[in-house]
């Protein structure tokens, strides 16, 4: 008696075929042609990317930037989720509210807030100078550590929410059993809670990583013009240099790299599920 599920899928599927898959195919075709008209087939754009150090080091820097920012998110995000999972229902709502507040606030606005904090006369430098940690104002804007710090703040909720979802589903009896059997809190965390929550950790890492490497606004505003990552590189080649075929090739390379990273993490996640027995 239920209505046909396939028919309900069709409208959105049509939109995705016409305005998501088709553009991606056109992008792929353009990346393989010598000019914007797309007259001849060539691999020159890809060769240009992988033979020029300037180009492939941008890809490498971007992928590495994602790893660093994701690790920071994990180190700070896991404890939030862990404490949240143990809190009373009321506190849990408050904590989740505080965690999702930043993700719903405009990324431009959040990044802008960091400029007020990280600038030469920003809050952080005032504190550092007052405490005599440094004699000179620290250069934080337009540096990679600055970009990593801001990315971690901007994307942290994407790490916390999936971990929290898994942590709240773990049977508390398992941790109790571990303690009764003589394992301390750290050992219980390391041997019981952490392995069981790995699927959430992996899901969080996938979301955080893909968000960090593609975070155009944060990368450009905090990194400035000298720190170039893949999204800015695509934008500059497409709009600044007006070299559409090359920009298309960079886009394809970047998408494949992100998908490969996601696939790798998914694979690790599958392995961890059998290991954790969850």
């Amino acid at each position: 008696m239920t209505s046909s599920p396939t028919a309900l899928l069709l409208p959105l599927a049509a939109l995705f075929v016409a305005f998501f898959l088709a553009p991606l195919m056109v992008l792929l075709a353009l990346s393989l042609s010598a000019d914007t008209a797309g007259t001849s087939l060539t691999a020159a754009n890809y060769l240009k990317f992988f033979t020029d150090r300037f180009n492939y080091s941008i890809l490498w820097d971007t992928l590495l930037l994602g790893v660093k920012a994701t690790l920071v998110c994990l180190v700070f995000g896991y404890p939030i989720a862990w404490i949240c999972a143990r809190a009373s229902a009321r506190w849990q709502s408050v904590l989740v509210f505080l965690v999702i507040l930043p993700i719903l606030t405009s990324v431009v606005v959040r990044t802008f807030a960091w400029i007020v904090i990280l600038g030469r006369q920003g809050v952080l430098n005032q504190v550092a100078l007052a405490l005599r940690i440094t004699q000179e104002p620290l250069r934080l804007l337009y540096t990679e550590p600055g970009v990593i710090m801001v990315l971690a703040q901007v994307q942290m909720p994407l790490m916390v929410l999936p971990i929290l979802a898994v942590l709240t589903k773990i049977d508390p009896n398992l941790a109790d059993a571990s303690r009764v059997l003589g394992a301390g809190e750290w050992r219980t965390l390391w041997r019981v809670t952490l392995p069981l929550s790995l699927p959430g950790v992996i899901a969080g890492c996938i979301l955080t990583y893909s968000a960090c490497v593609t975070a155009f606004v944060t990368q450009t505003l905090i990194g400035g013009a000298r720190l170039i990552y893949m999204p800015l590189h695509i934008y500059q080649q497409a709009i600044g240099a007006n070299n559409w075929p090359f920009a298309a090739a960079i886009s394809v390379i970047f998408m494949i790299a992100v998908l490969a990273a996601v696939a790798l993490l998914t694979l690790i996640g599958r392995k961890s599920e059998t290991y954790g027995g969850a």
Binding site: M1, P5, T6, A7, L8, L9, P11, L12, A13, F16, F19, F20, L21, A22, L27, F76, P79, I80, I83, S93, F97, L98, V99, L101, P102, L104, T105, S106, V107, V108, V109, R110, F112, A113, W114, V116, G119, Q121, V123, Q126, A152, Q153, M156, L161, G184, E185, W186, L207, V213, T214, F216, T220, L221, I234, Y235, A238, S251, V252, F254, M255
Partner: protein
């Protein structure tokens, strides 16, 4: 290797302390910047210094004359509105299809519809621009809305599918056996029960569209300025305190909508 009793207590304490400290730092880190920016926007001076030199509403009042920003804000609101409407209609239908369908097609669609969350939105925006050009069109608002729907519909799908999976099928069977048709069952049984999930998804989609830069960068035509892009350019070129005032307004507006969404749809429950 049974540890003495006092050692176990110390261990529990050390774990709580370290995790508590990390979480506390993280919470300050998450909320602090927005608070600092909000306070800075009430400054009485010309510079974006924190703590501000005196408080005033002068930069907020200055927004009354900022025609360009007002036009950009209006454009962003209109696009976010239509994006949300389309995302809710198409997303709800697709969510029903995915939640009820067991076929390989339904699962493939699930992966396809969620992929914009992971793929670089900027690359998609560029691809859409090339595509529009190949078709012989120029960027315009309807194309911009379609592009936004592609990147915003995953939010509606995620919360709606989650809500549907908690729906007891016995309720639907009861409605059918009492003579309720498909449409009536959807309107009177399914829709009221998934409304909080749908509402939370619609809210997320609206905010994602209102804040979108990577797609708008390519699909907005020259005359149509979008608010986040306008702000992005302002911040990159000259740090105007009016930018802080607009940001302050956006933060307050977001907070208000969030509290409303929490009241009406239990936002924090939907996000978990």
């Amino acid at each position: 290797m049974a540890a003495p009793r006092h050692a176990i207590d110390w261990e529990a304490l050390s774990l709580r302390l370290i995790f508590g400290a990390l979480a506390a730092i993280a919470i300050v880190f998450l909320v602090g910047p927005t608070l600092i920016m909000l306070l800075t926007s009430f400054t009485a001076s010309q510079s974006l210094k924190f703590p501000p030199d005196g408080l005033s509403l002068r930069w907020y009042l200055a927004l009354l004359d900022a025609d360009q920003m007002q036009a950009a804000a209006w454009n962003s609101l209109v696009v976010a509105f239509w994006t949300t409407v389309l995302s809710v209609v198409l997303g709800t239908a697709a969510a029903l299809g995915i939640a009820r369908g067991r076929s390989a097609l339904a699962r493939a669609c699930d992966v396809l519809f969620m992929s914009p969350l992971l793929l670089p939105a900027l690359a998609f925006g560029f691809a859409a621009l090339i595509f529009i050009h190949k078709l012989g069109f120029s960027p315009n608002i309807p194309f911009l809305v379609l592009g936004h729907v592609v990147v915003c519909v995953p939010f509606v799908l995620r919360t709606t599918i989650a809500a549907l999976s908690q729906l007891d099928p016995a309720l639907l069977d009861a409605s059918y056996s009492l003579g309720g048709g498909r449409l009536m069952t959807f309107r009177r049984v399914t829709l009221p029960l998934i409304a909080p999930g749908l509402g939370a998804g619609a809210f997320l989609a609206f905010m994602a569209s209102f804040d979108n830069v990577p797609v708008s960068l390519f699909l907005a035509d020259e005359r149509t300025e979008m608010l986040p892009i306008h702000l992005w350019q302002q911040i990159e070129t000259n740090l105007d305190v009016r930018t802080a005032a607009v940001s302050g307004l956006i933060v307050m507006f977001t907070l208000l909508l969030m509290l409303l969404a929490e009241r009406l749809a239990g936002l924090t429950r939907q996000m978990r």
